[in-house]
Symmetry: C2
Subunit: 330 residues, 2 copies
């Protein structure tokens, strides 16, 4: 067992979270993560309406007795989803942990805090982490350049971002982006985090609601098999490299208008890409940690292995490298 | 004391190296690193001739009794430096450790090995590390996206690159790029490396032969204050952000020919930039680890602090987080 300020704060067994993932964060995965003693988050906006989210929360509760949370990601949009209603659905369902992400979450954070809900905010820069801390969140999920989805525009990897944030942020932090095994968990703890958040690694588990063809592609891909889209619009997204992603990169490079790229991406991405077994079919997100993923275990096997490996690394390898001056001089 | 396969192989006290740095890897710094119990490398090509390198090796020996090495970086050039003569100078001076970097080092590796010299080869990709291992080098310095100078074109940070390499490479590896403190050393050891190589962090020490104005700039800069040049020519270099670097980035973005960018960079960079106290004067290299550098200690103070902090992290923080099941259930 590895006990940190994160496990204490959220009342879970292991310092591991499965943060929000569009189309993937449903009852099947979140209940398995909860049962494994880690903290899973349903993705609110994967549900078509606040009413559907209420039902998904109830469905998850039928599958596990352990605590789980809900992710609410706030994106600027001309016609935004009914965020306040999703928020209300979360509060009224008695959820005790929320992961927020995106822009200007203050009003949502205030509402969650007023109902005694613990909030962890995901961000990609030290200055954003400090701003979230001032906003009153309970914890930070600090997301490095390695991550799937939106790494921000600073391109600072976890090796730098985590300790740089730890030098300034006082509330507990989860390290996110690039984590998938016990080695990463120990590195995160050494760098100043209180645990890890994993996305891509949880996608390659038996319970993830993704076609097996995509899971096999994650296993087959190495660490270089990702592409960055929308860099020129300062809205960068890291996705798995395939023919569609490479076409999108190419038309972006040629200076085509945003609409052309968005059309290509929109036509291909989403639930359809994950439900179709052909990894070339659509655009789907994956992080660099693909290069460290070699199998498709159950969630329980994965969590158990990560914690066991981390314990062994700390108690055996690392402890063994530290020689007392006496022993070293002997 | 932290003892690893690296400290054993090279017969040094601490699992820390100061690899080759053009204009910086001179007797003053390398002797201080050696005296501190770490492994410093003189930069061969900083010396104007093989004869000058022989003298610099002798000068270093006057300053320290401890072992040190020499870096030989092989770059493709129309009129290359006399690599074979530099190599011969290294061998005839009785140097026992060499850091190689760059293209096709096979003939140099063969010659060094034939004289019983231990070779550590620096590379930025798993496939290059495997190729160097096949070439017969003794160790790898695996250099992540965070690093100053040449990170390669794959953009894989250490958090992924180190364990991905450790999954395949059998000889000992140093982790390079983004390292500057005890937290990083423990992370590197957890991820599968046998120690760390530091560049930028050693530049911000009392003994580094760099103007104090540049050292202060490293302290003042945060992790975001670097730029990537020559990306469009697949010869990427990470340098400190200043007005000259930003101008170079801009003319590269505008699609100017290589010559225009090279002219601007060449006119500004080099020894002059480091010897002038104005950080805006020229182009000079620095890694993202700038964001973790807050002071200018002596080399001895720095090495002592890193090892002491790493020991404490392993023996106190990490050991303390691991609860036995009995304790956790109590």
């Amino acid at each position: 067992m590895i006990k940190t300020r994160f496990t204490e704060l959220f009342g879970v067994e292991h310092p591991i979270a499965q943060g929000g993932m569009q189309w993937v964060g449903t009852a099947e995965l979140v209940a398995a993560v909860a049962d494994a003693g880690a903290l899973g988050f349903l993705t609110a906006l994967t549900q078509p309406s606040p009413e559907a989210l209420v039902k998904e929360i109830a469905r998850t509760r039928e599958m596990t007795d352990k605590p789980f949370g809900v992710n609410l990601t706030i994106l600027p949009a001309i016609t935004p989803p009914p965020y306040a209603e999703y928020r209300q659905a979360i509060i009224e369902s008695g959820i005790k942990a929320v992961e927020t992400a995106g822009y200007k979450p203050q009003e949502h954070v205030d509402a969650f805090k007023a109902h005694g809900i613990k909030v962890i905010h995901k961000c990609t820069a030290v200055r954003h982490a400090l701003s979230a801390e001032r906003m009153g969140v309970d914890a930070i999920s600090i997301d490095g350049f390695e991550c799937a989805g939106h790494p921000g525009e600073d391109d600072i990897p976890g090796l730098i971002l985590i300790p740089a944030a730890a030098d300034k942020v006082k509330i507990p932090m989860l390290a996110s982006g690039g984590f998938g095994d016990g080695r990463g968990l120990v590195a995160a703890l050494a760098l100043g985090a209180e645990g890890i958040n994993m996305g891509t690694r949880f996608c390659a588990t038996k319970e993830a609601p993704i076609h097996d063809g995509i899971k096999q592609a994650i296993v087959a891909n190495d660490e270089r098999a990702t592409e960055l889209l929308f860099r020129s619009y300062r809205n960068t997204a890291r996705v798995a490299r395939n023919s569609v992603a490479m076409e999108a990169v190419q038309i972006e490079r040629e200076g085509n208008p945003f609409e052309a790229i968005a059309h290509l991406v929109k036509g291909a991405r989403g639930r359809e890409g994950l439900e179709n077994g052909d990894p070339e079919h659509g655009i789907w997100t994956a992080g660099m940690v693909q290069g460290l993923i070699h199998d498709i275990p159950s969630v329980a096997e994965l969590v158990e292995r990560i914690v066991g490996d981390a314990e062994a690394l700390i108690g055996e390898r690392l402890a063994g490298l530290v020689a007392t001056r006496e022993r070293a001089n002997a």
